[in-house]
Assembly symmetry: C2
Homo-oligomer: 173 residues x 2
């Protein structure tokens, strides 16, 4: 599929609802369970998404579209803000919804044209990347973490499904 | 996590909203794209979920809780109804919502008690399985297909993300 700004924005706009639907009405124990050592719980994944909205995606778009000569991105702290502070899931879901709305409002305000899609910034590891790649990555990053949350939740029932574990590939990934 | 009927029902109740959120407002081309030969598109996955509601989960619960001596399940046609007929995504999402509501209304009407959790039916492949295992599987099956839909959607941008493909494990699974 070729990059399309509207499709990407649609995916990004839907994520707050998708996450609310997945994570509301679950007991706290599910929200704090992970896949084992060095893995994240649904609450930690959600905090990571909030952190990305606050520090990463929009600031990199700004760099790409700025008039500055220096187009280097700040490295993104991928472990940043993963620590679950004393917030309820509803508060973090709200934080994410608000931050995402702000990000998208900013994105709309830019009136990005097709000629902007190939503008570039400099990634600390990969070097030159385009606006199109950055926005595509933002959407795929959402989908990846929604899938991860499903997997973390599913794994809590790994024993409980009994012999069906053989049919449920999400449990053995 | 130990099986809990309420948590399982919560997961099952949320799936229609989660799927609507993920699949509304996307262009038809995304809804019909898959991961390559012999893989399903989001629309086909959704049809599979509708088919499961109509023919599989509830009928197996009935078998387990029935007074009959014969407790064997009918084999589930896992490829059944995957063919996309001439229905829009909104129609299939609606079908799923209605079928899931019916399933859950039926589940509530059973007033399942903890003493029922270990009642058994006979799976065509695994032999004896419990009600608890069946309901856990139903919830995990939902989560597996939500994750699969995220993955199928994400893969449509596999080229578009450029060098970020290395950071996005959902694209290489």
């Amino acid at each position: 599929m070729e990059f399309e700004l509207n499709s990407s924005i649609n995916i990004l706009s839907q994520t707050p609802n998708t996450l609310s639907s997945l994570l509301t009405n679950l007991p706290e124990s599910w929200l704090n369970s992970n896949e084992g050592a060095e893995t994240w719980s649904p609450k930690q994944i959600l905090n990571h998404l909030v952190h990305g909205e606050r520090t990463d995606w929009v600031s990199r778009i700004k760099v790409i579209l700025s008039e500055n000569d220096d187009k280097s991105f700040k490295p993104f702290d991928r472990e940043g803000s993963v620590i679950v502070r004393d917030k309820s899931i509803l508060q973090i879901l709200d934080d994410f919804r608000i931050e995402r709305e702000k990000s998208l409002a900013f994105l709309f305000s830019l009136e990005i044209k097709e000629t902007d899609h190939m503008k570039t910034g400099v990634h600390p590891e990969f070097g030159e990347v385009t606006l199109k790649q950055l926005i595509s990555t933002w959407a795929v990053h959402d989908l990846g973490h929604i899938a991860q949350i499903c997997r973390v939740l599913a794994k809590q029932y790994k024993e409980e499904v009994g012999p069906w574990v053989n049919y449920l590939s999400i449990l053995t990934r």
